[in-house]
Symmetry: C2
């Protein structure tokens, strides 16, 4: 008899666990200082505010909150998401917005609704590794796009479209994961021009934009109306309110694609938690998010600056790293000869963690790269973490080049 | 240029919206008495109890509740699910249990982790139509199994396995949707015997068992240890606590399949709401569910008895229907010549709704069948709904045969 395991889905069998999942298990040890996970700082969560929102929902609308709801999302949450998008210069309506149980579900639904096995999907290289997983379980072929210090290179996109006839391109234009790069407005415009001349779907992932350290609001590429029949813009409350609550959204102006994503959500999830949606919508309707986010942004910026300053003291000569204008991540490259995947086990033994860069790549992984999250640890703990890392690197005060 | 819509996933394109989704939209009109949806009675929800559980979680464990959690589920919720299963005579451990965002996500994950396009999946005929959707978006071929008044016929299962070499069989052994049939223990044993001799996965869906009107606890087929390497048992809090909260589980003793389902959940959802899981687990840990469910069971039984009694007065001579021992549904067949899909529009105009039977079938749909949910309407409203139906049927007091 055929062993049962051979009967599992062959695309899923080809997908590994997230390579950083095991790191996260190590990171759960409180004696470890982890720069690995992209976990928001829990001490900055508005616990009382969210608790009050849930209490309000149960007190005023309890039976509805506990009942089945709409696959597309509760009207209040769709409105709230549309308002967030409008504030980011996207001309969104509630009718265009579908609520998701977080952006990862959004990526899964988009992949399942759009992709057939063998389709080509273009991605930045490196990029968010869990998006690669969401696409890989659909059996797609991932192709790498070249970037520079301003993000994706438009000519590389145009050439890849010509060469690969792709179904879609997946981009994180603002505070990219893992590189922290934000594409300037001119670059976004060039990319929109290329896509407007193609029939390629844009899957634009925008979870980090609210964590900005300047007043510069970067308009998503999807705001370009020429892309209305081919753009999907994913947003989330994970980085601005709470990742545990699992409320995100997809803005999809194209009616047929939205309907297909809806059928997929209905078949594979039915709906997002009604109580979470109503509580999140009430929170958003009763708070000025600029005021809520101001202290979060200030604290994250302080942590980022500390991390960059400390790293610049201890990374070996010849290292490069960025100084992001927002988001959660600092990306660095060590000098020739270093292997961040080998080094991470030494680092763990020394009580500090980062994420090695190679798993973020779909082609030509650079073994010298590594990612630091700067949001999870306070300033003092960040300093101590870098001291531990210095011991592993065998450096103490070597000055690094800043990229 | 190829129209974009042609580039969507072809399995998803082949799946329609749930045929009863439009009925649910009509059913939202409060002047309509709907027997269509399987919505629990909101007036029986323990709003205060669940509100207190959320308040407790925020007061004692707020930052954790708002933070990212485990893909497999929070330990408390996995333990709580294992305890529910043990009380149903399933020798489950928390390690075997994966939390899902409701059973529909469980079906979606199982389908995605197990099925390749073209795989054959055997289903009862009729069966839960949203399971058919979850399987269809994976491009499987559905084959119908014959049943009788005791549920699936074991010989039909054995013959179908021989003929179709299926990947899996999907069953709802207890208070089946839509028929309300429960397989007796002897029938379950025979089905387990057939499956133990095969390499076919059992996908056992068990959302209704707690809504029983007798003390007879029907042990799931998956409890048979011979099936440990091929059984998946899906449970949910939707029918016993709240469908809006979206917490369910899959018990999967086979480690490799469990890991693949975990990879799929990680890639397509990341995790279930941490706050919902902790609140649900706290509720379960602090309530005697037999006491919580006693008044719900009593009320649902009274509603079922009223519906059956009233229907028996107004269904045309020659009709048959069942009287279920639990669950949510009464299933009926009208005499030759009736077409429940045509009739439902007249019924809606008369202010009453049911679900026509044909969409529940994968083969040989019976146009004379229809499903009534007995849980959503109180006794008086149930009587009024049947009076409205009588006007449509052109009957007033014709005595129906009871099946």
């Amino acid at each position: 008899m055929t062993p049962l395991r051979h009967t599992l889905n062959h695309h899923v069998m080809a997908v590994g666990e997230s390579p950083i999942r095991r790191l996260f298990e190590i990171a759960a040890d409180p004696s470890i200082i982890s720069f690995a996970g992209g976990h928001p700082a829990p001490e900055l969560f508005d616990v009382d505010g969210l608790a009050a929102a849930y209490a309000h929902v149960f007190a005023t609308d309890g039976p509805r909150a506990m009942q089945y709801g709409s696959t597309d999302g509760e009207p209040e949450m769709r409105e709230a998401a549309a308002r967030r998008l409008q504030e980011a210069n996207v001309p969104a309506s509630a009718a265009e917005v579908m609520v998701t149980s977080g952006s990862q579900q959004g990526l899964g639904l988009v992949a399942q609704a759009l992709f057939n096995p063998g389709d080509v999907v273009l991605v930045e290289n490196p990029t968010y590794m869990s998006a690669l997983q969401a696409f890989a379980v659909q059996g797609v072929e991932l192709k790498a796009l070249d970037g520079d210090e301003a993000g994706l290179v438009p000519e590389a996109l145009a050439a890849a479209i010509e060469m690969w006839n792709p179904k879609a391109v997946y981009l994180i234009p603002t505070f990219q994961n893992p590189t922290g790069i934000s594409m300037p407005a001119s670059r976004r415009q060039q990319i929109a021009d290329v896509l407007a001349d193609s029939d390629v779907w844009l899957i634009e992932d925008d979870p980090y934009a609210e964590l900005r350290f300047t007043d510069d609001v970067l308009t998503p590429i999807s705001a370009d109306p020429r892309l209305d029949d081919r753009s999907l813009l994913l947003g989330s409350l994970s980085k601005v309110l709470s990742p545990g609550v699992r409320v995100g959204w997809i803005r999809c102006p194209d009616e047929e694609a939205r309907e297909r994503i809806g059928v997929t959500k209905q078949a594979t999830a039915l709906q997002t938690s009604t109580v979470d949606q109503l509580a999140a919508a009430h929170y958003l309707a009763t708070h000025n998010m600029e005021e809520v986010l101001a202290p979060v942004r200030a604290e994250y910026q302080a942590r980022m600056l500390t991390l960059v300053e400390e790293l610049s003291q201890v990374l070996p000569a010849g290292s490069v790293m960025n100084q992001p204008a927002g988001g959660m991540f600092v990306w660095a490259r060590l000098p020739v000869g270093f292997d961040t995947q080998a080094l991470v086990f030494e680092a763990a033994q020394a009580g500090v963690l980062y994420v090695p860069g190679p798993p973020f790549y779909v082609a030509d992984p650079d073994p010298r790269t590594l990612r630091f999250s700067f949001v999870s640890n306070g300033v003092e703990r960040t300093r101590e973490g870098v001291r531990r890392l210095a011991a592993v690197l065998g450096t103490e005060s070597t000055l690094a080049q800043s990229a």
